[in-house]
């Protein structure tokens, strides 16, 4: 029932007669409105019997029940006799329900002791490591199938993904790498100027962009942009039982969903990295022209003396690896997602974290490897 503005508020009056406290409730009791408290009603009285009456109540809901329940609890605690006979049958029934739910509602303890937590975490690490190697293995097998039977591959999905993660990422990758080129040029100029070696800014930017920054930047941007999207998409499909529907049809999710995405990233990330190289070099060129008065021609010729094709190759190899890392992390986290909205969010977060972590680790490994082979 709606409460009109003029609706009488919840009221309680208490009248003590021969040790019996007669508590009369009146007015409209709404759970959204304030209600009198039993402590104030009782005041300093300490009755041996309490009789409850609700004849004057116009409308009521759980608010009234809570008050009556409070009185009952107090009576039980102090040993007073509570007389509910004057209450209507409905209210007595609800009060009984409230009392039983009060007694049976036991908090579910989720706390665990330290050793159990550590044990669980350790087990969890093992399980996760196994899941990763299992997943990578499946992807390799699936790639083998792709080579043997290229006709059965979902080329159309792959092209759509390529457009999504490649072409659509051009603006953001371009902007970021251009600005990184600018920043590098400024920082480099600070030092190189002291030695009169302004022109070597071109070397610095060329090598840094082509060998390191191009691939790394693109990898990180795509981890956030594409890896998270993969995880969210697959996580949602998991929550909707779409992945289960694929499995029961005998179509492995890896073939159908993961490989097209991996291939798309494996192809597009190196291309984007080359584009990032170019943008970064352009950024450096702009600063050199403006700040250091080095003409674009001089910048370009200097750049060519230091950056060789093998440096470009180093960047591209890394970019392929980063692409696979981003794709694997995104798909793996998506497939592992819990079947809930929160699970999808966690999958996206952990896909990005995993991808960036492994990109940095892989970069370090590549640095050592390329040093050994002399690239």
């Amino acid at each position: 029932m709606p409460v009109s503005p003029a609706a009488p508020r919840a009221r309680v009056s208490a009248l003590a007669v021969d040790g019996v406290l007669e508590v009369s409730l009146a007015g409209t009791w709404k759970i959204t409105e304030p209600r009198p408290s039993w402590r104030e009603v009782r005041g300093t009285l300490d009755p041996a019997r309490v009789r409850l009456r609700v004849d004057q109540v116009e409308q009521w809901d759980s608010s009234l029940l809570l008050f009556l329940f409070g009185v009952q609890q107090w009576c039980r605690a102090t040993g007073a006799h509570c007389d509910p006979d004057a209450l209507p049958e409905k209210i007595r029934r609800l009060l009984a329900q409230l009392a039983s739910s009060h007694e049976t509602s036991v908090p579910f303890d989720r706390t665990e002791n330290f050793l159990i937590t550590v044990g669980r975490a350790t087990q969890d690490v093992l399980v996760k490591a196994r899941a990763i190697s299992h997943f990578v293995g499946e992807c390799v097998l699936s790639a083998g199938r792709l080579v043997r039977r290229p006709g059965a591959f979902r080329w159309h999905d792959c092209l759509v993904e390529m457009q999504q993660c490649g072409a659509m990422a051009l603006p953001i990758v371009g902007l970021i790498s251009f600005l990184v080129g600018v920043t590098l040029a400024y920082t480099g100029a600070l030092v190189l100027r002291q030695y009169g070696g302004d022109i070597f800014v071109a070397d610095l930017i060329g090598l840094a962009m082509v060998r390191e920054m191009g691939a790394m930047l693109t990898g990180v941007v795509l981890a956030g942009r594409t890896g998270a999207a993969f995880a969210a998409t697959l996580g949602n499909m998991q929550a909707n039982e779409e992945i289960d529907a694929l499995e029961t049809l005998g179509i492995p999710a890896v073939n159908f969903l993961v490989l097209p995405r991996l291939l798309a990233l494996g192809v597009m990330l190196p291309l984007l990295a080359l584009y990032a190289d170019a943008c970064g070099i352009l950024g450096g060129m702009a600063v050199s022209r403006g700040l250091l008065a080095i003409s674009p021609t001089a910048y370009w010729i200097e750049l060519q003396t230091i950056v060789s094709l093998s440096d470009v190759l180093v960047g591209v190899i890394k970019a392929v690896a980063f692409g696979l890392i981003v794709g694997l992390a995104g798909c793996l986290r998506g497939l592992q997602a819990e079947r809930s909205a929160a699970g999808v969010g966690q999958a996206a977060t952990s896909a990005v974290v995993t991808a960036i972590l492994f990109i940095i680790v892989a970069d370090a490994v590549f640095a050592v490897l390329f040093n050994i082979v002399g690239l």
């Binding site: 409105e33 809570l66 409905k90 329900q97 739910s101 049976t104 579910f108 079947r339």
Partner: protein, 255 residues
């Protein structure tokens, strides 16, 4: 109770519902009396859920008005809207529990938002509501840890948290086994009996319709509107419209 006749719990006049300019239902007029169990029925795709979304104010009406207890539902007055929403409870099809909160927190959220109750009192109310839907002991479970039927019942407990005057239920028994579904129906009857709650139910479960409904409106896709209104048994007995009898007699239970 004042002697003046009460305004209907819900009065819908000339309502047109739809999405993006495409009308699904046009010119709906009906009223729901306080304390009535009112069913909106019809085949799939006839706009039952769309109508419900318009009634609860999730979508603005394309034309017409919806009034609750004589007061119009005005999306342009946020304060009035908020006050109005307190008198509603909505049970969504899948329960729509917030997955990052436990059942206790799910039911407690409306209480924390709208009532002056203390934490201890909120615990009592939550325990009562959950016990009414038979979920005692599951207070600290997350929605992902319980079954679909339990989620739906927990959703009902949340819808009832503020003891609303009107509860809207979208396909309450869809996906439930017959026994659970019957229990849910009994629970709805009990809630109406105890609190005089008006229930508006979207459904196509004949069992529930005949068990619960005081009145039904039957929507039809082709007609884009109501093709029959009245108590379900009277419709079965009295309607000459083949669409009505076909819908209601698929397996009308023996009286």
């Amino acid at each position: 109770m004042p002697a003046a006749p009460l305004p209907p719990a819900i009065a819908v006049t000339g309502l047109a519902c739809g999405y993006d300019g495409r009308a699904v239902l046009t010119d709906l007029t009906f009223a729901v009396a306080p304390g009535e169990i009112f069913f909106i029925i019809g085949g799939s795709g006839c706009g039952k859920s769309t109508l419900l979304r318009h009634l609860v104010g999730l979508r603005p009406p394309q034309a017409g008005t919806v009034e609750f207890f004589g007061q119009p539902f005005s999306p342009h007055d946020p304060a009035a809207q908020r006050a109005r929403l307190q008198t509603f409870g909505v049970l969504y099809q899948g329960g729509a529990l917030w997955s990052s909160l436990t059942l206790r927190q799910n039911v407690a959220l409306p209480l924390e938002e709208y009532t002056p109750l203390s934490q201890a009192e909120i615990r009592e109310v939550v325990a009562l509501k959950l016990s009414q839907v038979g979920l005692t002991g599951f207070e600290d479970y997350y929605p992902s840890e319980i079954s679909g039927g339990m989620r739906k019942r927990a959703g009902l407990a949340r819808a009832l948290a503020l003891d609303p005057a009107i509860v809207f239920l979208d396909e309450p028994s869809a996906g439930l086994d017959p026994i659970t579904s019957r229990r849910l129906d009994e629970l709805l009857l009990q809630i109406r009996e105890l609190f005089g709650t008006t229930l508006v139910v979207v459904s196509h479960e004949l069992d529930s319709i005949f068990r619960l409904a005081d009145r039904v409106i039957l929507l039809d896709r082709g007609a884009q509107g109501i093709i029959a209104a009245g108590p379900p048994r009277a419709l079965v007995a009295g309607s000459r419209d083949p669409r009505v009898t076909e819908f209601l007699q698929r397996e009308a239970p023996p009286q």
